[in-house]
Subunit: 363 residues, 2 copies
């Protein structure tokens, strides 16, 4: 530290400064092999004095990989993915790894580009919320450990951590059915990923369980990045005046639904009950609070990273899928149709009843 340097300090220079050879200096700094205490101290002091920073490029050129771990998400501005990334980062940082973050904006091509970049940088491993199987397959083929998060692409040879979408959706819709709703709409923005598909499955399963007939008309798929989701929801509600409750498949959809209901002056839950899959901060803040299926997002990130770290550390064995259970949180946005026999408290401070907490492993 002191004078600004133009040339990076190399190990050789440190060794010279300490009056020893490069290999000894290497051993002293890395802590491998035998080095006399005295020399070691001299080397460390010299490194310190010169502001030495080891070059990971050189290091990973020798060894196997850089310490970098890639993460691909579909929309960093979506709190869901931000929380996921935060969880991943926390776990990786604790293990001394760096996280390279790529936003694929839901595009298969961009995910693949990201994967290629990870390959090029010899990433130690990659976590991704898949948008297709190409990226995963490319990485696996090259021997890079991969853990899929949130969704599964169907590619083989990688671990995964997901949330039980079907169960979460089934519980939510069952709640509405129990309250007496018979015309329950489901709004989603994609069915090409297993998250959307499984939530739809859960919606259907709940109906079957209750012996309530299904109608295709009650399912609205906005598609990813709808131009004007509010308008689509509006048109849908106009076309289906009998709807007394809406199940929104994720936080983005939930926001669109909520805003449209507010815009048209519908009273929630009296005129229409609402449940969101995914529980964000604002859902606790609005009045009434939104009944929601909470996903342990941050934790999912952490656990996925841990799984990956284990693979990086050399753990063998079959690919595992960790399925996390969501938690049903009842707030004020759901009640019996027409507002009769309202059992929900307006907005309980603490949240609501927990259900299905925990997680289980399946091969």
């Amino acid at each position: 530290m002191g004078k600004g340097k133009r040339t990076r300090v190399t190990l050789r220079q440190v060794a010279q400064e300490a009056g020893t050879s490069a290999s000894t200096a290497s051993r002293a700094l890395a802590g491998n092999g035998y080095v006399a205490e005295a020399i070691k101290a001299r080397v460390v002091a010299a490194a310190d004095r010169l502001g030495y920073v080891p070059d990971v490029s050189a290091r990973s050129l020798k060894g196997r990989s850089s310490g970098l771990v890639g993460l691909v998400v579909s929309d960093l501005r979506n709190q869901f993915y931000a929380a996921l990334a935060a969880g991943v980062e926390g776990s990786l940082a604790a293990a001394g790894h760096q996280m390279v973050l790529v936003d694929d904006h839901g595009s298969d091509a961009q995910a693949l580009e990201g994967a290629r970049a990870f390959l090029a940088m010899r990433a130690a491993g990659v976590l991704l919320a898949p948008v297709g199987r190409a990226a995963t397959e490319l990485l696996v083929e090259h021997g890079t450990p991969v853990v899929e998060v949130d969704r599964r692409s169907g590619a083989r040879g990688c671990d995964a951590v997901t949330i039980d979408s079907e169960r979460g959706a089934r519980d939510a819709v069952a709640h509405l059915l129990e309250l007496g709703h018979r015309r329950i709409a489901m709004v989603l923005d994609e069915t090409m990923w297993d998250t959307g598909r499984n939530r739809l499955k859960g919606y259907r399963a709940a109906h079957r369980d209750a012996g309530v007939p299904l109608s295709r008309r009650l399912v609205l798929d906005l598609g990813l990045r709808p131009a004007d989701p509010g308008a689509d929801v509006a048109a849908f509600l106009d076309a289906n005046p009998g709807v007394t409750a809406v199940f929104a498949a994720n936080n983005v959809v939930a926001e669109a639904v909520w805003q449209e209901l507010k815009r048209r002056g519908s009273a929630v839950p009296r005129d229409c009950s609402v449940i969101s899959f995914d529980d964000l901060g604002w859902m606790r803040i609005v009045e009434p609070g939104l009944t929601a299926v909470r996903q342990p997002v941050y934790d999912m990130g952490r656990q996925a990273a841990d799984l990956l770290l284990a693979r990086i550390a050399g753990e063998r064995g079959r690919a595992q899928t960790l399925t996390l259970q969501p938690e049903f949180v009842r707030r004020g946005s759901t009640c019996a149709p027409g507002g009769t026999a309202r059992t929900a408290h307006p907005s309980p401070p603490g949240g609501g009843a927990a259900r299905g907490v925990g997680s289980d492993v399946s091969a």
Copy 2:
């Protein structure tokens, strides 16, 4: 593509497959130097066939730096930082760079650790929301281009992109004063960074401008990561019953204030007006909508990244500070004290009056 490979494909292997030398293959793939078209095609085909991926470690060992760019933020779960990161990523990805994201959790030590990691990976440049000057100084000293975002540490030798906190705060508080408020509280969670400090300055300046006396009692500093911000706000409000308006210094504080007001049954804005510095999605969703100082966060990330890219590309010249102007958005959470002469519409769909849009550069 095809058979899973255990050993990474090297340039030499590609060359061999194409029946040429490594140097020629290098030129063919990199596009440097002269290569016969026929040979070039053969090499490209071979590379493709073998699934060749260049090794950036080797490449950056030769050259100067890896194509990696570091970003340090203080809390990825905070939507503000997530949006910032998204902006940065967008710009970097477009330029073919990868973003390495580090969350320092507001800790100087962790930021420094991140900086060291960036140095070790020979990052092409680094963007950071500084928590101290140590990280910036270390990087600058080693010749790594740095752009500070959102805040400035005071370290020299780096560019910066910030938002005019003082002006944003002054405008907001002036609005409250114009409405007739005289006991306006300001709640913040830090004054060690220039964001908090400057917002406080703006708060004071507005009072001075209006000739309204200031009282230290009206400023509540919760401190970063308060154990129970709600309780602190509650105690503060109890101790200052005369307060008719609250100016919250950022989205975290705004949420705490909002929740506490709701908890105690205060009617906003009749009993208490509220303004937030930083405009998040939920502030548009709640009833009434929150009057807010909107920051062009995503854009700040983009612009900061662009500035850094220019430096990486070799742009010389003095360090620049780009100051972005916030936009005052009036919604329903502000009115005259006591709810008299209420001029605000309950919750205008589009937002409110814009003010101070644009940006300017200063050396």
